[in-house]
Each structure stands twice: as C-alpha cells, then as structure tokens.
Symmetry: D2
Subunit: 135 residues, 4 copies
C-alpha cells in the first residue's frame, strides 16, 4: 500500500510528466483532479477525448499503486471508454476510480469522470492490468 | 415507459426464448434473475461465459424498454465484458443494470452480475444502444 | 498445439454442449461454423446477439487450444463486441479468429463474424485470456 | 470525402494541437505517423499508453473525415484499447485505421499501431462514432 503523500512524492520525482492532483486514495479507490486549461480543449470548447483518456489512465494507476504499493509493476492490458456527455470547458475534470478486482495476476478497475460539480459522468472507463509474478 | 407486468407480458408473448425473471424495473434501472441449472454450467462447475453474456444483454434490454417503452427500437452497437470471478454453480445469477446515459440517439448502460448472496460481482458489462429516429 | 481432429474429439467428449463445427485451425487462427436454425433467431428474423457472442467465445477458445494445446487453462478476462450489421436469418454464421498476441501470461485474439457468403462482417470481437502459471 | 491535402490544411488551421503526419488516406482507410520524442516516453523507455490512445483517436478521426468529408460531425461514443507489446522508444508510431462500418448514424473503425518497422502491433483499438442527423 502507498499513502497519498508517498504517491505525490513518487509522481513528483519519477513521473515528472504526470499532471494531476491526487485528492484521495485508499481502500481500493482513488480520486484525482485534472486542471483544465486552454491547452486541453477541442474546437467547440470541450475537453478533448485524449485528455479524458489520460486522466482515466492516471486514476487507475494511482488506485493500483495505492493498493499494491510503489514497488508494484502493473502492465495495462486493456482500457475501454464510453463517452457520455460533453465536458464543460471551464471546470476541472474529477476522476473517481474503484478497483473491482485485485487478484494476484489481474487487477480490474473502473473510472467515472465528471466536470466538477456535475452529477452525471462525462465518461466512464474500465481498465485491466496484468501484475507480473514477483521473483 | 413500461412497467414490470407489461414487460413480463411482452417477453412471454413476443420473446418466448427469453429465460429470466424480472425482479425490479424503473428509474433507469433493472434487476433480473437467471435460474442456473446443469445446462448452464461449464466443466469444472462454473456458469459459462455465454450464459453471463446473455443475462447482461437481457438486463440491458429490460432497463431500456422500462425507460423508453415497449415501442422502442434499440439496436445493440457494442457490448464489453470483464469477467472478475468464477460464479458458483449452485446459485442463481442476479444482474443489476443501470443506464448511465439516455439520449435521443444513444443509450449506454452498465450491468453488475452476482452469484446470489455474494457481494463481489462475478462480471461487469457495459452496453451501447443506438435508438433509430422515430418517423 | 492441438490438431483439428484432437479438438473435435475434445469438444465431443468434454464439452458436449458445444454446438459448432471447426472448419480450420492452426497458425494462431481458427475458423468455425455455427448452423443457424429457428432457435437462434430474434423477432424480425435476425440471429440474436447472444448467439453471436457464444460463437465468438467458441472461436477464440478453439484458436487458443489449437495454439497452446488441450492441457492449456485459459481464463477469459475480457470480451468486447461491436455489432455492425444484421445477420441474415437463413445462412450459417462463420467466425474467423486470429490471435494477435500469444504471451506467457496473456493471449489476445480477435474474431470477425460473417453471414456465410457475405464480405462484410456482421460483428467483431476482441477477447483477452489469462494463462495461469504452470506448476 | 476529403483528400490528404485538404485534411492537412484542416488540421494545420483548425486543430493546431494535432501533432501527427498523415501518410495515406482514402477508401475507408488512413495511416498516420507520430514522431516519438523524449516527451512521449514513460520511465523504462517505452511510449506511454496515453500517447498511443491519442494516436488511435487521431487515426480514426482522419479516416472518418477522409470518408465523410470535412463538414462531418462525428462524436466518439466508445474507444476500446488492447495493449499488446511494449513499443520501442526510438521509433515512430505508425497507426493504420480501417473503417469496418460506415452507416448513416454510426461509424466503427479499428486501428493497429506499430513501432515503425515491426510486423507485430503494439496495440489495437476499436472506436465507435455517432453521426448526428444532418439538418
């Protein structure tokens, strides 16, 4: 297991490209926030699909490291997205991840993404991760 | 919208191959039960994947008809499954469907499937349905 | 590896519910045929979605056993379907499977399904399988 | 329909964040190239998952605009990824998209992604797009 501050330190030092804030992590869950700026928008003023996909990937990774610890290797094997509504352009994206299965060899989690303050998700994702055997 | 008894009548008369019980339907949700018998098992004594897939498809269909009414045409465009745990052989499968989006042209729902009495889902599904324009 | 006749024997004796014909298997590929009868149709005269899903699952299983041998344990972890066209009611379904990855711990394959004689697929599937470590 | 040069002009003027080269487009297909630099790598020296997802999204969009023309509105409804092998760090990513269905209301396409020069794909994607009715 890894705590919020351990994860923040890890991303700040090892994953310097990571660009999100961890709001909560623990108990097979994680919530992260993506600050939305002009750079994340598509013509028409909505958050681009690839930004949502990157946020979902990050939320799953935070939840898995939070559960398995920083030494864990987790290899993404599949990621499925359903895009449900247009995110608004002037609010952060909040991604809430729940791990549905934490097995020895396989972890599966889902992510709901919201424009901050909205009840209805803008997108949903489900990801599968292979956990290599420890030697 | 269609009620539980309208849906039961519909499946009994129009979809005579349908083989499940509607437990609840309404408010963008549906719960159905699949009675598990020897015919649904795989070697090793677990409910087969295709049976779970059929149940998920049925739960989504019940939830959509419950929301849109019996006249609705809904064409399945995609169905994604994650298999999480082995179902036990001697309990019914309970499938709980929630519609995440009910748009004019697109409906998206998710299904969690359980061996009756268990807290942890045996499988999850997400389905997308195109709703043809009404003439 | 398992040959066509070994696989036919296996399904006839161990998987007596299996209901399809193996047309070809080998080189990370398999083609199977599902005879379509009244029992497989939906109102409106099209092959039902669950029948297509069962056929895809079978084609993937045949291709994996053909590649890894009959002793192989392969646990389905995810199955994703896209439904593209209505199958016609009076032709068999042909399912062609190709394994895209055959790793030690993970096998991924795709299936294209056709109404016999048509060029355009009625559905596509992608499946992931975990291979438990051999003891 | 839109030609390669029309599409290049479109992305250069309307989608200035787009960062890829169109190699070929036409006949329901598109091939694009993503130049890989340090900024696209993960610790361990492999191309990050979000970069692959962005490339797949772009390849699908190019193929759809190539087929339907620049006026087309296409709303991504689902995107499914299977990650098959680690991309190498020092080669471009080549994404080949084929549209499997081009309907009035729905377009479905698949993308195979490669480290340039390799035969085996590093990832596969399938995307669904809703086409709003023209007024």
């Amino acid at each position: 297991m890894a705590t919020k501050s351990e994860l923040e330190h890890f991303f700040a030092t090892e994953f310097t490209q990571a660009d999100f804030l961890i709001e909560e992590v623990g108990n097979r869950r994680a919530t992260i926030r993506k600050r939305i700026t002009e750079a994340h928008l598509r013509p028409g003023g909505t958050v681009s699909g690839p930004v949502l996909m990157e946020v979902a990937d990050a939320a799953l990774y935070v939840a898995i490291l939070g559960e398995l610890g920083l030494v864990a290797m987790a290899v993404t094997t599949s990621l499925n997205f359903n895009f449900l509504r247009k995110p608004v352009s002037d609010r952060d994206i909040i991604a809430e991840c729940t791990l549905m299965k934490v097995g020895k060899a396989l972890v599966v989690g889902e992510v709901s993404m919201y424009s901050e303050g909205d009840q209805e998700p803008v997108a949903r994702a489900v990801g599968s991760y292979a956990i290599p055997p420890r030697k």
